[in-house]
Structure formats: C-alpha cells, structure tokens
C-alpha cells in the first residue's frame, strides 16, 4: 500500500478556496459503506501481555508430556473441559466459550503467530498492530489503513450526513497503534476527562477562581465542545441497553459500553476493548491450587464478558451483525519457570466469535517436540494476518485486492465467516437480497438494492458576486452537468436564510441576494428519495478597491490601474465613466483634476485623487539685473506671484495680470543680489522657478 503520497497530512498546504464543497466531498466508496447503519461490526479483544495459549486450550493428547514440562502451572487433567469432537480441553474458566464452540458460534484458529518471532512486548505488539513482517517498521496500524482506504477524506470532511458516527472506538484508555493512520487517528478513545479527545465520561474538573484556573476551565470546556462526535456517542450510550448485566470488572465494563453503543444505534463499525495482565511470569496460578490465580481470573473475565455480550446481542436481535476476535502479542513458553509462571513465547490460539462465524476448530493442535528443550519454541501454523485478511474480506466486505494493500501483501485466507449464496455478487446474501440481480459494480444498500448516485463533480459552484457587510448582494451560480434530472436546491444560511430553487432538466440556477456568511446547500433529485448531496460555501466580502494612477506628462494623460471589481465608475472632473476593464486612461485638463473611483459595492471603498496639471512659466533673462520677465502659459487672467528667499522667508507677494503676450514684467531693482524662488499660482497654474539676481 503506497498511499502515503496522497494521504499525508496535506491539509495545511492545500489552497482552500472558500467555496469548495466541504461536507459534500464524498467518494463512491464512502457511499458504499454508508450502508453501515445496519452494517457489520467487528469487536477486537486485546489480551495485553501475551496469553498462555496452552493453558487456555490444552492439547490433552500431550497432557502427560506437558505435565512434566510445565509442572508448576498446568491444571489437573480432569479440570480441563473436553472439547467435543477434538482432543482439546478448555480451561475451566472458559465453559461459556466451549458452549459457543458447540453451538458453532466460535471459531478457534490454532497456533497463530508469525515467522522470526520477537519476544519484546513492545515490538511484538507493534508487529501485531501494524500488521507487518517481523523486520518491517511501520508507524501505522492495519485497521487504520483499512479505515483510511475506505474514508480517504477523513478527518477533514467528517462527521458528515453519510458518516455521522466515529469510524472506530477504543476503550480501556490507551490509544493503540492499531488505529493510528497515515494522516490521522482513526479512533476515538474513551479515556480521561482532562484530555481534548475525551468521550462519554461527563466528569468535569473544577478549577480555582484564579487567572490560571479560568484558562484551564476554558480549555477543558472547549476540549469537550470540540468533540464533534461527543454528543452523538453520548446519545447512543444513554439510549443503549443491556438486558443481561455484565460482571463489574475491567473487561465487563468495557463490553458493557460497547453493548450500549451498538444497541443505542451507533453506526461505528470497529471497536477495541482490552484487558491487561496476561504477562504471567510469576504466580500465573496459585501455588496451592492451579485452577485459581491470575490467569484463571483473567480468562474468566474474557469468558464472562463475551458470553454476556452474545446473550445481550441475541436478546436485541443484533447477534448477526457482530463478530469479535481476540488477539495477544504472543503466547508463552511451553515450560513453566521457577516462579509458577511462564515466559514470553510464540504462538497462541485466536478466538473468533459471533452468530455469523463458521464455528469449529481450525488447524492442528500444537505439537510439543518429544525431546523438548527450554530453548524450543512452537512454530506458527497460521500467520496472524491470515486472520486479519479473512475478516476484512469475509466480514467487513473489503475488496480482496484492497486487503492485500492494507496488509502489504497477499495471505492465504481461512474461512472464518459462514458462506452464503450471493448470486449477484453485491455482498448481500440471496436470502436477504431484495434485489437479487443488481448489475456488477453497482452501489447497493443493506437490502442489496442499487443506490442511486451521481458523481460530486456533476455540480459546478461558482461565486459570481461578493457582498458588503450589511448588504445582500452576493450571488452563487450552480451548473449541472447531467441534464436528465430535475434538481431541487435547498439552501440555508445566516440569519435564518432559507431558499429553495428548482432546476428542471439541469438548467443553471442563480442564488442571489446573499449576505455574508456560511451557507449549506443540499441538492436532491426528483424521484430519488435516498439521494442527497451537500455543499458548504461561503459568501465573502469583496476585495478592497485598489487604484494606482500614473500621470504621463508627455501626453498630458492619466492612466489608472484598477483592481478589486469587474466594473468601476470613474469620475474625472464633471464626467462619469463606466469601465469594465482593469486599465483606463484619459486626457487631463489644465488646473485641478479631481478623480474619483468607486464600484457597485460601497464597502470596497472610494478612491480619490487630485491631479494638478499646471501651465508652465519661463523666467527671462536669468540671471537678471533689474527687470524680470515671466512668461505664463495658458489663459489665467490673474495669477499670484510670490518671491521667496532661499531661506524660506517671503519677500514679496502680488496679484498680476499677464499682458497680451502672456508676459508679466517685475522690477527687482530693490532686491539685493542672490538666489530667489518665484512661485506662480493661479486657477490652472502652480509653478516655481529659481532665479538669480545680479
């Protein structure tokens, strides 16, 4: 499986246009598994620490030899419960499991492990959870890879109308590698109320009335509110029931929660419960009575919880929907040690339970070498991934090729689930299939009937107009690719905005008069009751109006560069222009030119610019002795002339009228020699020149 390129946590890199469909982005495979409402559920029971498979299920034909190899932990021969039709004996705590086996509701896969076994708890747990070879280091779990392959857009577009519930739930407190995906955690963890990811537990810490206390209280509050699945899980939990009481112990309590969630209607398909304490190096059994002790206590919890769980499911008519499987990171040594215990071993049986299970014992009994040495290890008959793969294909309905990707290679399958006839190959047994001849590849519901679907790219949403705050000028255009349907668009938005549009034969629709805010649009198709496509979009404020002006002195023109809108209004002096391009140019008048630019949307702002196109002056002679002539171009009849010293002080100021030749003559004979600044201002002129008086 090499999905990493595409599945990694790219969300932060992606450019997200504000009007991309959010919740509407679903793929075909998502729709397929949306039949999960009454779908199949897998419960994984993790026996943490390495379960002693031999004492759990004893090959009685080798009892004599085992008695001498594991004298301090083996139970008296007559205490094992004979398994009908085999030479096996169940641990006396497992009477209920033996009954399930006789009822063909339990499959026992013997001697499960892997080649080149690792004896470290940590490493072997990682191998079992990641689903890899002994020398392959993968930081994702096999179940998470399966779930991510089914839900490629998780967690960004979740929960959504098709998948309102968590993909998987872990109980027991620790988050397992099993559910760690390649870009997310695919499970919710039932754990501690102080954490962000807490669930079910209504407990609230109280904090002191201090600045710090208020911050911690706020973070706790938001942590709870951030639980997008919190209320839906809590609702299911509260409405779920357990007709038969579970034992008040660790595993019993966890199964009770699973039972309540399933019966309460939660559509989650995968659960994991766990029981710790199987690492029985010492005092695996009581020194006085080997039928008692730690291992007995643990197996009884397992047996009681599973039996009660099955009874409850049957009572609620849910038994056909649920299959469970036990697993442990390894088995234990064949020989016992000096502390009435056993050490880390290799293989152990796995138990698969449920009404849909093909019951029976699979595989030969473990064979203890006649010349057993303490360095000997039992060899695996089945790779644990054969069980995983078989469950994914036969129970979860996964495509076998996809299963090979999840497990990185193909493993021979074991028949764990009852076969049923399915003549149209849609995954629904003929007995339950209301539509027994759906075409190959069709998406079906739980009754095996084709589900109507339209690809999400059948719709093109285009924001055609933004709007200002307080106004409702936004517009969204919706185009339909497939013209053979009649569509109905139900749109909800801010301030109780609600509008319904009908598109017959896929005619394009325009939603207008939209205010700023987030909108949800549900598209339905006439005659297709089960079909609904949702889009979320946003109507935003327009960009600011930005104008740059450039004055071209040589041509006496102004050029404007405009951005922020499609249409602009430009006022130059008295004239108003409507402009539909992002550049504009016009000739300037002499004197002040007032430019104003605006758009249809007031919040984009206005642009003002004053450009003064001055007439010219020319001073001659320069340097001058007494008389200075100033030529003033243009038509101003009167101008103001001011003479400054270079130090800034004003020397003289006067009103003058140019003669017919547009010349003003000044007598400067009273001025001392030096450099002066002449400023000429008038209606159409504002010019300065430097002159030198001799």
């Amino acid at each position: 499986m090499n999905r990493r390129n595409f599945l990694h946590n790219m969300a932060h890199l992606a450019a997200i246009p504000s009007f991309l469909p959010g919740l509407g982005q679903l793929e075909l495979s998502d729709l397929l598994s949306s039949t999960a409402e009454a779908g199949k559920i897998l419960v994984i029971v993790r026996l943490n620490g390495g379960n002693d498979g031999l004492n759990t299920l004893m090959p009685m034909e080798q009892y004599g030899q085992l008695k001498s190899i594991r004298p301090s932990v083996i139970l008296p021969e007559n205490k094992y419960i004979p398994v009908e039709g085999t030479s096996l004996g169940f641990h006396p705590s497992m009477a209920g499991m033996n009954t399930l086996l006789s009822e063909k509701r339990l499959a026992v896969v013997q001697s499960v492990g892997y080649t080149k076994p690792n004896f470290s708890h940590f490493r072997s747990t990682d191998i079992w959870m990641s689903g890899t070879d002994t020398d392959q280091y993968e930081s994702s779990g096999w179940m998470a890879r399966y779930l991510e392959s089914q839900h490629p857009s998780y967690p960004n577009a979740y929960p959504n109308p098709n998948f309102p519930h968590p993909l998987s739930i872990e109980l027991g407190g620790e988050s397992s590698l099993l559910f760690q995906g390649q870009n997310s955690f695919t499970s919710l963890i039932y754990s501690n109320p102080d954490q962000f990811y807490n669930l079910i537990n209504p407990f609230v810490n109280t904090y002191p009335t201090t600045i710090q206390g208020s911050r911690l209280a706020y973070l706790q509050l938001i942590g709870k509110q951030s639980q997008v699945y919190g209320s839906v899980v809590q609702t299911a939990f509260r409405s779920g029931t357990t007709p038969f009481a579970f034992a008040e112990n660790d595993l019993g309590n966890q199964f009770k929660i699973v039972q309540k969630l399933i019966s309460g209607g939660l559509q989650t398909r995968v659960y994991m419960v766990q029981l710790t304490g199987f690492d029985t190096h010492s005092k695996q059994v009581d020194t006085q009575d080997s039928t008692k002790g730690q291992h007995t206590y643990l197996l009884k919890q397992v047996n009681d919880a599973i039996v009660t769980f099955m009874k409850n499911l049957d009572a609620q008519n849910l038994g056909d929907r649920v299959v469970g499987v036990t697993l442990s990171e390894f088995g234990r040594t064949v020989h016992s040690n000096g502390s009435t215990g056993t050490d880390h071993g290799t293989v152990a049986p796995m138990f698969v339970f449920g009404n849909s299970v093909k019951g029976g014992v699979i595989g030969a009994n473990p064979k203890i070498p006649l010349d057993y040495k303490t360095s000997d290890e039992l060899v695996a008959n089945y790779d644990f991934r054969q069980v995983y793969g078989s469950l994914l294909n036969q129970w979860m309905g996964n495509d076998p090729k996809a299963t090979n990707e999840v497990l990185f290679k193909e493993f021979p399958k074991v028949q764990l689930i009852k076969l049923f006839n399915d003549s149209d190959g849609d995954g629904v047994a003929d007995g339950n299939d209301l539509c027994p001849a759906t075409p190959i590849g069709a998406v079906v519901d739980i009754h095996g009937c084709e589900v109507f679907s339209v690809p999400v790219n059948n719709y093109a949403l285009q924001m055609v107009a933004t709007t200002c705050p307080g106004m409702s000028n936004g517009a969204m255009k919706i185009d339909f690719v497939d013209k053979k349907y009649n569509y109905a668009l139900d749109v909800k938005g801010p301030s109780n905005f609600a509008q319904t549009l009908k598109s017959s034969a896929g005619a394009s629709q325009l939603l207008n008069k939209l205010a700023i805010g987030n909108y949800q649009m549900s598209i339905s198709i006439e005659g297709q009751k089960t079909y609904l496509q949702r889009f979320d979009f946003q109507i935003a404020e327009p960009a600011s109006l930005i104008v740059q002006s450039i004055v071209r002195a040589e041509s006496n023109r102004v050029e404007l560069e405009l951005s922020g809108a499609k249409q602009y209004y430009i006022q130059l002096n008295q004239k108003i222009y409507e402009v539909n391009s992002d550049t504009w140019s016009a000739e300037l008048e002499k004197g002040p030119n007032l430019i104003k630019v605006w758009t249809d949307q007031a919040c984009q702002g206005n642009y003002y610019k004053e450009i003064f196109q001055s007439e010219q002056i020319r001073c001659f002679p320069n340097p001058c002795e007494n008389d200075l002539n100033i030529y003033v171009s243009g038509q101003d009849r009167e101008v103001q002339i001011v003479l400054y010293h270079l130090n800034g002080s004003k020397v003289v100021s006067m009103q003058q009228q140019p003669d017919l030749n547009r010349v003003i003559q000044l007598d400067l004979s009273d001025l001392s020699a030096g450099i002066y600044l002449v400023q000429v201002t008038g209606n159409t002129i504002n010019q300065q020149a430097k002159i030198v008086k001799k």
């Binding site: 390129n5 990694h8 946590n9 932060h12 890199l13 450019a15 997200i16 246009p17 504000s18 943490n48 620490g49 470290s120 708890h121 940590f122 990682d126 020398d135 280091y137 930081s139 027991g172 407190g173 620790e174 988050s175 590698l177 760690q180 870009n183 997310s184 501690n192 102080d194 954490q195 962000f196 904090y207 002191p208 201090t210 600045i211 710090q212 208020s214 911050r215 911690l216 209280a217 706020y218 973070l219 509050l221 938001i222 942590g223 951030s226 766990q274 304490g277 960009a543 930005i546 740059q548 560069e561 951005s563 002040p592 642009y607 003002y608 610019k609 004053e610 003064f612 400054y644 504002n686």
Partner: protein, 589 residues
Amino acid sequence: MSQHVPTDKIKHPDLVALFQKEKVQWESIGLRKDRTLNSSKGLAVYTGEFGATQRKHLLNRTLIGYSHSSYTQIQNLSLNACVELLLTPEKAFDLPINDYYLDIIDNPDEVKNDVARGAVWVNATEVNQGGARWVSLKSWMLKQFNLQSTSIHWRMVLFYNNLLVSSIQNAGISKNAFYYVDTLFKLSLGNFKELIYQVTIDPSMLIYLNGNQNNKYAPDENYARELQELFTVGKGPNSKYTEKDVAEMARLLTGWQFDWEKTKTTEGRAIVKNNFGIHDTGEKQFSEFYGNKKISGSSNPDRAEGELREAIDMICATDEMSKYICRRIYSFFVNPSIDPATEDLIITPLAKIFKDAKFEILPVLRTLLLSEHFFDNMHMKTMVKSPLDFVVGLLKEFDLPLLDNNYKPFPKGSDGIYFDFKRYNGIQNAMISLGMNIGDPPSVSGWPAYYQAPAYDLFWINSETIIKRAQFTDALFNWGQGVYYNGSTKTYAQVRVNLASYLRQFNNPADLEGLVDQLVNRHIGMNISADNRQLIISQIMQGNMNLNYWSELWNAYVANPSAENTSTIQNRMAKGLGLIYQLGESQLF
C-alpha cells in the same frame, strides 16, 4: 501590474466569530465580565526566590517560545543579569534573499528580472506577480523568531507589529513590507517618539491607512484617527481627543507620499516626501485635550516635517499617551486585564518613567520585568499560548529537519536555501490555520487576543483550533507534518520528531517515571494531577505493564540504535508526548 495578492488562498479562521460560536458562560470558567483578577504587588524590585519557575516565567513572557539553551544560559544568572541580557538588542540580521526561486520558475520573465538566486531583494525592483517575496518575508520572520537569541528584541517587534499595525500582504511592494519590519526592528528597543514618526511616514503604512491618498482637497482621516485611537493615546476614559482633532490631524498629514510606480521600477528604498502641492498649509487648531495647541502651517515646503514633529510632541505631551502605551505593554507581557488598582499601582508610575525617559522604552521594560508584580505567582502560566508561541516553542524544542516520505533526510541537492525556505513556509502555513498569520494581524487593531476584553488570549482557542493544535503535535510525533508538496513531481517533504534521539538529552531515560517527570517539567513546567501523570505512563506502556520493559527497551536502543529499537520507542513515546500536549496545562505560558 495589479497589486492584488492571493491572500484568499489560505484559509484564515475568524477567531472572534468562532469564539462567539462557543457560547461561553463566563461564570462556568470562573470569570465575570465585570471583574478582573489582579495582583496587589507593586513595581518594587522582586527579591523573592528566583528559581526555575521564575526564570521560565521570565523567558516565556519575553521570548517567543524559549529554547532549552536559553534556559541553561540564564540558569545561574542573577535576576538583574537576566533582565539586562534580555534587554540586549539582537545583532543585525541577514537580509531576506531570493530563496523562493523555484516557486516562480514557471514565469521566465519574472526569473529574468528578479535578483539572482540567493541574492538580497530588499532594494530590488518589484518583479513578482504572485507575491513570492512577501511569502518569503513571512518565512524569514518566522526564522528570525526561531533563531532569536536570549533577547526581548523580536518579541518587541511582535508587540509593535500588533500595536502599530501595517500589513505585509497589502503593502503591495515587497521592499516596503520589509522596511516596515526593519523600522520596527531598529526602533523597538529605542525611542517611541521616533518610532511613531517613522511609522507615520512608512510607505507600507501610507498604503495601509491611505496616507498616500491624503490631500488637502479631500483629506483622508484614516491614519489621523488610528494614530490617536490605536497607536498613541487610545480610547481610555481620559483620552478626550475630539472628532475635530482627527480632522485637523488629517489636514496636518496631507501630502506625505511616495511614488508608487517609481518605487516599483527603481532600485532602492521608497522615497517618502511631502508633496507640498497637496499639503494643507493652513493652521491646525487642536482641542483642549491637546492644550488647545495650534500648529501653524506655512507655504515653505520644508515645514511639513516640522508640523508632523510638532504634532507628535503634542501627542506625547499628554499623560494619556504614556499611560496607553504602558497599558499595552502590561497587557502584552503580564496580564491582559487591568483593574483600577493596577492602573494606580503599575500603569501610572510606569507612565511617569516612560515620560521622564523621554519615551525610551527600555526603562519601562526594565522596571516591569524586575518588579515583584511581574513575578507574582498569580501571573505564572496564565496566558494561552498564541499560535506563534505554540509553534515556535515546538520548533525550538525539537530539531525538525526536513524529511522525505520515508522519514529519511530530504534530498535538497543544490537547492538548500529553497528548501529551508519551504520548511519555514510550510510551518508558517500551518500556523495560519491555527489563527495567526505572521505580519498580518486581522485588522488595524491587531490580534483580538491582545486587546479585546474580556476574552483576550482565550480567543486563540476554539473547537476548531484546539483540535488543530492537537493534530499538529500528533503529526510531529506520529505521521509527520507535511510542509512541501510538488504535485507534478510527486515530491513530498515533512517534519517529524525523532523521539528516540530526542530523549537522549534527558537524565537517565531508562527510568520511565523520572523521564515522564522531566518531560512534563520541560513541556508543561507546572504540576499536573497524579491521574494525568499515570495516564501518560500507561499511554507509553500501553497498559499497566512492568516499567522494566521500558528500561530494557531504552538500554537496547542505547546499545544498538537500530531501526527496530528506534521505531519501538517512537511508537510508545509519541503517545506519551501527544497526551502531554492534549493537557490544558501545556497550552499556557
């Protein structure tokens, strides 16, 4: 030629709107809208215990996510020496360069006209259509924050970026954006009066608040208003400037301009000058609040600068200006909310120090950071980390080299500077989705967390960002945080913590309980409940197993850091550290 930049491409959560959606009942978190919690200690020099808690508090509030090396640097210094070290300016920085060259490769004209790869661009003509330089500038800023020495300098730049807000993305001309940051850097430990003068005629500010369009025919009041309302005297009850003051100030500021087109097309810094033809040369008459000050105009073009200097003097002469700045400093560094007692106890004397020092900021900072008020226990770990504090803190704590798809060192080839840029850029983008876009506060008022009562720093956290923070740390510890993706070559780069090698620096990591205590101390720095401590341990152990298994694993790793041992440690410790970062305590500083 359009100055539009694609700011809409990155989704920036609206923290105020999201906060309102949470419908927080103030009583439920022990707060009331009408009540603040304030220390009764004053500005006297702190003489109490100066231990790890106090030192960390000092670093937390003056740096941006302090590094462990900053902590060891001050571990044995006296309080006085610590504060002096923190008030030492940074050395000059390396200027932003063309490290974005592969991002513009599809535009040959741009490549041809841009400065060479690796060359400084801050004086070059404008060539990038897509805003490559401002993206580069933001990443450059993140890099400066990350590489800061044990100095308050960059935090003060952040303070002023939040107080005297301009916008990098809207500056339009990238060198103008750079020089805005440069001005803040040069003056953030210096004289406030000079800073206000420089900011007023800063080209990016002239664009951001319309100064460039302010002329005598149609005065634009935008800058004149914010100068008073937000930058200097504020809106406190004693700040009694009038609408007429705004109008008069606008008149006074007419004509300050730079030539947009020329700045774009010529090398060097923008030339800002007063375009006297459109400057209002009349007299400006201010209100009683400003002592009925008259500022005379003149037809002398040189007079415009004098008018501006006089106006700033006039503003600074009010007591309210010094008080306002000291309030903002106090909220930013100590406690966002200020009650009347604190106003008397802290703000008034600080304002006097500020005024007496002729508006040098260092004496104010020195007094505050040495004070028993600052070190009051009730201020420790009481602010929610901003996305910047959160992300830069993680950046500084963990060595986060660029990795490829398989967690191997990313092959940078000869493009080292480009990929270093992308690394910061990718992290900066992640920060945007947490609600903070470096160099671009959401409005001229700054980030709401720094000014909006009564929520203040709570604004950083809502149902969306709290999960994103957890996802960010989970990504760093588990699957990797993507920072670069090239769709056409399918090249992917990420950052991720190698936890096994990270843990080597701790004292006896084989002792898991001791290790967890050290990690909690390092990453949280305050006590957590016994239940939470136990939960961290059981996350790492995946159940209540014998802690010796951890010791064996650690010893096996030290003897042989094989892929197996490294991976086994990663898979366990990621859960433990992930949980540490899901505790509310880890979000405080």
